[in-house]
Symmetry: C2
Subunit: 368 residues, 2 copies
């Protein structure tokens, strides 16, 4: 099997389950750390394993530019390239290209954009985005969608949603025709007939009725899992929750639900209890680089002078390697002195905090 | 005991032995990684332990500026501050201040210098350098010396050597009067009566006769270990070897000999076989940051395009975590994409290579 999903316990709307991929099982709800360029910034794959990361995310747009899809494909896809035997998910590049703003032009056929690195011109279509993601070889790949901007009026929302639906069909058609070209076809430890799985993405902006329609018509096309896209694009947080709730109501209970690009530790716990199974966000890794650390007592900005003499651990209730060994004073010094170890240790802690939050949520759901 | 040194085997001039410090034993000859600001750049203390690092070096000048000696002292010295239970050695700050060139002025009393960070004025004397090093609390600390520039004429060499000898006496006098102020006096796991040990430094430039005189007069002052300073200052490599050989001839056989700031993997092996017991150098860590990697077949510049598709390990004969897991292609990608993991993995490999080189040298000496 390429993908299997089983719900093992529920509590209210929340579900605790397991997702079997060609590269191992993942307990859900799960938070997926972001490894944009085939690396979770500053963290070795050894350490990711030690942290209990069973699935991580790669960004197609970035990998397409560097080192290039063909390069990665020849080295066995992302799994071979980055020496990671556990599961991987790639986005379609749609959101990244959408974020380029002035550098892109959208037509029915696809998106013309300029590289943020050197300004060179490129083109992504549903077909080429599938081709790229097949070359990268993640276990789970995403349909090419248009992420609608916020705010957007009714006409724009409908047009954008309809485009995403047409692109979803084209994504699926191309994927079905080429999914057996996955680069790890004959890799050791991977079942012979297994391949990638393509998830559909529900759009529809902040309009609950459109979300319902988008969900129903995406399900009609048919995917082994469904993502909720187009959120965390600048809308107020209560709206994010309303739209997630409105969308979940129309998603099949037996398929994994992936909320893209969300959120804070509180949010990932909240959305898990609402019935979301998968999430990703750059927040724990990006915040770590800015000295922002998530703890059981809230967010800490480790750069502050008041921590300069603080002998205590970052978070006395945290069991991570950083909290068990180093003082706030040392972490503050590393950050202030611009030492690379600051990023390594801060990211280690933040990822542990996120993964631990998810462990606690799974546990509480499993207790029923 | 604060320091004990025992030679366990010899082969020609080379010695394999053991150095007992208040923070554990160190097998010699040993290479000490440099942790300038209380961190070996990019490498966690966990990973240093895993690599087999039993002693590392801190830079007094840098730590004096950031986070400041008093800050470190209050947190239990460097051991407490950086959560490192194994041995530490600090330099005296002399070499670092010497490197400031235009920013410093040397008198009999000491050195006035300006911080490279903010231009603020500071003063180091033998007494204040001892005070700083006692506050930092390394197991082994160094006398405050003047590192003579290269080239230097006979008059300058003698004057500089005489100044270093007078400063050595002052360093020792101040150290003896204050060595019981060490910040880990009552730390768990440290023997009650143990304290720091002060090493003397032999100078004398590239003049073998002056080196002999400097060695004899430094020994007369009396230290539990002797360093050879003033090398690797721009002289040709054959001269370094000649001067090391000429100096070793006048050092006591039963005391550890520390060659400061040297060198390449080939050099640390060569100097070990000549009878050097301790070495430090920024080369493995600094080169790693520039993508220069030491292998069993010589130096590799991983940034080169020819490694972009290279599936092989960095060094097939290396047993480190990096060579066992990642391809040259991946390491090249990380470097080209400016990923922080490049520095982490490159440094891990280079340090392993240095430590492994020393293990091989010790083994070959032990075989007699």
């Amino acid at each position: 099997m390429s993908l299997q999903f089983q719900i093992e316990a529920t509590r209210g709307a929340g579900r605790a389950g397991k997702l079997w991929t060609p590269h191992g099982a993942v307990e859900t709800p799960v938070f997926m750390p972001v490894g944009t360029l085939a690396s979770v910034k500053g963290i070795s794959q050894d350490l990711l394993e030690e942290l209990g990361v069973n699935i991580l995310l790669g960004n197609t747009y970035h990998l397409y530019l560097r080192p290039g899809v063909e390069q990665v494909r020849k080295l066995g896809g992302l799994h071979g390239f980055m020496a990671w035997k556990r599961a991987i998910l790639t986005d379609s590049g749609g959101f990244q290209v959408f974020s380029l703003n002035e550098l892109r032009k959208i037509t029915e056929e696809g998106v013309t954009f300029r590289s943020h690195l050197d300004g060179s011109a490129h083109f992504f279509s549903p077909e080429s985005a599938m081709e790229a993601q097949i070359g990268l070889g993640a276990d789970i790949i995403m349909a090419f969608d248009e992420c609608t901007e916020y705010p957007a009026d009714a006409t724009r929302l409908r047009e954008s949603m309809e485009l995403t639906l047409r692109w979803a069909e084209r994504s699926k058609r191309h994927f079905e025709a080429h999914k057996h070209e996955v680069p790890w076809k004959s890799a050791p430890g991977v079942e012979a007939e297994s391949t990638q799985s393509l998830f559909g993405i529900v759009q529809g902006g902040m309009d609950a009725a459109l979300r319902k329609e988008s969900a129903e018509r995406t399900i009609e096309i048919g995917f082994p899992g469904y993502a909720i896209g187009g959120l965390s694009v600048g809308e107020p947080r209560h709206l994010t929750q309303e739209i997630v709730e409105a969308t979940i109501a129309h998603l099949p209970a037996d398929k994994p639900r992936y909320l893209m690009g969300v959120g804070t530790p509180e949010e990932i716990a909240t959305f898990s209890r609402m019935g979301i199974d998968m999430m990703d966000c750059v927040l724990p890794t990006r915040a770590a680089r800015h000295g922002l650390l998530f703890t059981s007592e809230g967010k800490i900005s480790i750069k502050q002078a008041r921590y300069a003499g603080d002998e205590g651990p970052l978070d006395p209730r945290c069991g991570c390697k950083v909290c068990r060994r180093y003082s706030r004073a040392y972490l503050r010094h590393l950050y202030a002195a611009n030492e690379v170890l600051a990023q390594v240790l801060n990211t280690t802690h933040n990822l542990y905090h996120y993964l631990d939050t998810m462990r606690a949520v799974r546990h509480s759901i499993a207790l029923g």
